[in-house]
């Protein structure tokens, strides 16, 4: 497993300075991108094609609040939010909460719910949950951190769907 934190030069912390991350990303692509491969042979270029793709993958993970949380857990041997073979399942409380939020989303069309208000609520919960994740993860409370990562993912998905309406 590639440790993208190492490649980009960051500590394995949840909160990350995104400006600095972007600068590191640019620096890395300046070295790895195929367009910077003048003077290299076809074989060398082909070998490096993977590296540029890896840098893109790494940036995508570290820059995304949900994927970064999942990645940190995976570096510590905890698998969560995958299609199968997860180490933890969402709690009953989490599932109930998400169902209720979706019901509320369903009532926007009929006018019983206000889209802007609901979106604002989901946003606020998301921001809050990030802090929760950081709290648990930094204390190495992986079970709670896993639940937190799952909640982040559900909230993000809901946010995307609400924005499409």
């Amino acid at each position: 497993m590639i440790n993208y934190f190492e490649i980009f030069g960051f500590q394995q912390d949840y909160f990350i300075a995104k400006d600095r991350l972007e600068q590191e990303y640019f620096k890395l692509q300046m070295q790895a991108h195929p367009d910077r491969m003048i003077g290299k042979t076809e074989a060398e270029k082909k070998a490096l094609l993977g590296t540029s793709a890896n840098v893109n993958e790494g940036y995508g993970i570290l820059n995304d609040d949900v994927r970064r949380a999942e990645f940190l857990l995976e570096l510590n041997g905890v698998r969560v939010n995958h299609e199968r073979d997860n180490d933890f399942q969402p709690s009953q409380a989490l599932l109930v909460e998400q169902m209720e939020l979706r019901e509320r989303a369903g009532e926007i069309e009929s006018g019983l719910e206000n889209k802007a208000e609901l979106l604002s609520h989901v946003d606020a919960e998301f921001e809050n949950e990030k802090k929760e994740f950081n709290k648990y993860f930094s204390k190495k409370l992986f079970a709670q951190a896993a639940e937190s990562a799952m909640r982040l993912k559900y909230l993000e998905k809901l946010k995307d769907e609400l924005e499409k309406l």
Binding site: F26, Q29, M30, H33, P34, D35, L49, G60
Partner: protein, 616 residues
């Protein structure tokens, strides 16, 4: 000019005599440019024009030339709209091609009839590229075999592959395909030293793209891109042409009872007039023109009413792209306009209304894409301190059970990108698997663009579910897909057979390439033959003129020998051997050498005695 700073240990730039150009292969017009020290210059043709019309004209003598030749028997234009499409798909957006297409043969690639030939959009684009290549070679005095070619950002895999195929046929190595808005951003950014977040709004003849980029520290990073490959200035022309037809009939019937309006006037025939009026309406509120004796008047308000929907379409795509970027409108520092159709006042007004900013128009919207391509061509051959980081515009995925589209690579993912997906067998002993790859944003596979079907062969025969094949889908820096596969339990590389859904198959491509190379050779031979014939003609005319004036200086026998050789040349010129003609012309020179000497002496003595030779 930026200083080239080398990192310690980095190899120095190679000596590069390779001259690489940038090409904007547009729907309506195409351009070629070259860059030195990040300053790009458009290369003009022998006629002094900075562009070549993306048109193939069939002349009266059966020859085919690139360009819009007035009075040509037949013309094929806007083939960019047909790249990477089959007949069914093309018909969805184009009701009348304006030229003959063979529907029966056009399932995977459109086949167009021009005179005796049948051509695909790829071959027609190749002719346009050849013409640009020739212009560049004439201007630079060097062979040009490498180019960066631009494509609409929203072009899918098949459309990109078709563009590369066209380049290959034209004898050009595609160093990189770059997206038109990104090319424009590069040219604009370097020209203005601009940094920040910019939207590039590119409305060309046939395609529309909008890209949002961050430009910083020499890096041009695309954040999000959107577009429509079937929306452009051509559609404005068509809408106006429809209105012109109505006005023509209305005005025509009102005017004369002895000369009724012609019934055969078609919308297609009115397109050139529509384009002319459209351009004038950019500067005037009202335009009056005459068509077939009927006066037609169009106001800007009327024009804006009929293009309103098309303009709104571009704005809603712009809004969606801003949303995809996850930025707010206020974060956008400027909007750069690219493409001739952005001259339309209505478009500019709507952009200003959406973003709250006056669009930036200080760089020529017709030239900026070619200039950016040239700068990138220089960067890829001589090195540069800039970097273009682009994204894939369309989601890439696979067809799954129930005919659904499962996304593997979401749109706006930075490229290059590599995604691996594991597959397993569902039957005991199954040795092959097929995979249907799609591009698009819809839920169902049938509504997405079929890219290709991949057959995986050579899976070791095992119990169902135990063989695991990992398939890697890789989008390269051109945005084109390649697939590789590996069987996990044995570690063997799998044979992946690609069957692209659209475009020229490998066999047909081979044939065309061979024909193209032979054609190029025969074109050269034809030209050399023509030159020899012309030289022979001049030699014969010269000596006949000399015989007329000074024939009396020589004996009849000598005269007969010269005339006999003239006959021999006449025979040789009728043939196709250039060498033979050259030999016989040399022979004529040899035979006539003494005569030439006599003429010179006579002229000299005539001069000395005050008389001119032709007075004798």
């Amino acid at each position: 000019m930026l200083l080239q700073i080398h990192e310690p240990g980095e190899s120095p730039l190679p000596h590069s005599d390779d001259v690489a150009v940038g090409i904007d292969l547009g729907t309506t017009n195409s351009l070629v440019a070259i860059s030195h020290d990040e300053m790009a210059e458009i290369i003009c043709g022998a006629d002094g024009k900075f562009y070549v019309e993306s048109v193939l004209s069939l002349l009266g003598d059966g020859s085919v030339v690139v360009g819009d030749v007035s009075g040509a028997a037949k013309k094929i234009s806007s083939v960019k709209r047909l790249m990477g499409l089959g007949y069914a798909e093309a018909k969805k957006t184009i009701s009348d091609f304006g030229f003959d297409v063979d529907p029966a043969k056009s399932e995977k690639v459109i086949r167009i009839k021009l005179g005796e030939k049948e051509l695909t959009p790829i071959e027609i684009s190749a002719e346009i590229l050849k013409a640009l290549k020739a212009n560049a070679e004439a201007a630079l005095g060097k062979t040009v075999s490498k180019a960066v070619i631009t494509v609409p950002a929203y072009f899918n895999d098949a459309q990109r592959q078709a563009t590369k195929d066209a380049a290959k046929i034209a004898g050009l190595e595609t160093l990189r395909l770059i997206n038109e808005p990104t090319a424009a951003a590069l040219a604009y950014g370097l020209d203005r030293g601009a940094e920040g977040v910019f939207a590039i709004f590119d409305l060309g003849g046939g395609t529309f793209d909008v890209s949002i980029l961050k430009m910083q520290m020499g890096v041009f990073k695309v954040i999000a891109t959107g577009g429509d490959t079937a929306l452009g200035g051509d559609d404005f022309d068509l809408a106006l042409a429809v209105m012109l037809k109505q006005k023509y009939f209305k005005n025509g019937s009102a005017i004369a009872s002895d000369q009724p309006p012609r019934n055969d006037v078609s919308v297609i025939q009115l397109k050139p007039l529509a384009r002319k009026i459209k351009e004038q309406l950019t500067f005037s509120e009202i335009v009056k023109e005459n068509f077939a004796g009927v006066e037609i008047e169009v106001t800007r308000a009327e024009y804006e009413a009929i293009i309103g929907d098309l303009a709104d379409k571009t704005i809603s795509i712009f809004e969606r792209t801003i949303k995809d970027s996850k930025l707010k409108k206020a974060n956008i520092d400027g909007v750069v306009l690219v493409g001739g159709a952005t001259r339309t006042p209505l478009i500019r007004a709507k952009i200003e209304s959406l973003t709250g900013k006056k669009p930036l128009i200080d760089i020529d919207p017709d030239k900026v894409v070619a200039m950016g391509a040239a700068i990138q061509a220089e960067a890829l051959t001589k090195g540069s301190n800039n970097l273009l980081l682009d994204v894939t515009p369309l989601s890439l995925g696979l067809e799954t059970y129930g005919g659904l589209m499962e996304v593997l690579v979401p749109r706006n993912t930075p490229i290059p990108v590599s995604i691996a997906q594991k597959f397993t067998t569902y039957e005991d002993g199954q040795s092959g698997m097929n995979v249907h790859v799609l591009q698009g944003e819809r839920e169902f596979a049938k509504d997405c663009r079929s890219l290709a079907k991949f057959d995986l062969k050579g899976i070791p025969p095992k119990a169902a579910g135990t063989a695991i094949v990992e398939v890697s889908f890789m989008l390269d820096a051109d945005g084109i897909l390649t697939v590789s596969a590996r069987e996990e339990t044995t570690g063997t590389e799998q044979v992946v057979e690609v069957r692209p859904s659209y475009g020229l198959g490998a066999e047909e491509m081979e044939k065309i390439l061979i024909t193209s190379i032979e054609q190029a050779k025969s074109d050269i031979m034809n030209r050399l033959l023509a030159e020899s014939r012309v030289e022979a003609d001049i030699a014969v005319k010269t000596i006949l003129g000399a015989l007329k004036k000074d024939g009396n200086l020589i004996s009849n026998d000598y005269k007969a020998r010269i005339e006999a050789q003239i006959e021999v040349i006449a025979e040789a010129v009728k043939g196709t051997s250039r060498d033979r003609i050259d030999v016989e012309v040399k022979q004529l020179d040899a035979i006539g050498a003494d005569f030439a000497d006599l003429r010179t002496s006579a002229a000299l003595s005539g001069y000395l005695s005050g008389k001119k030779v032709n007075e004798v």
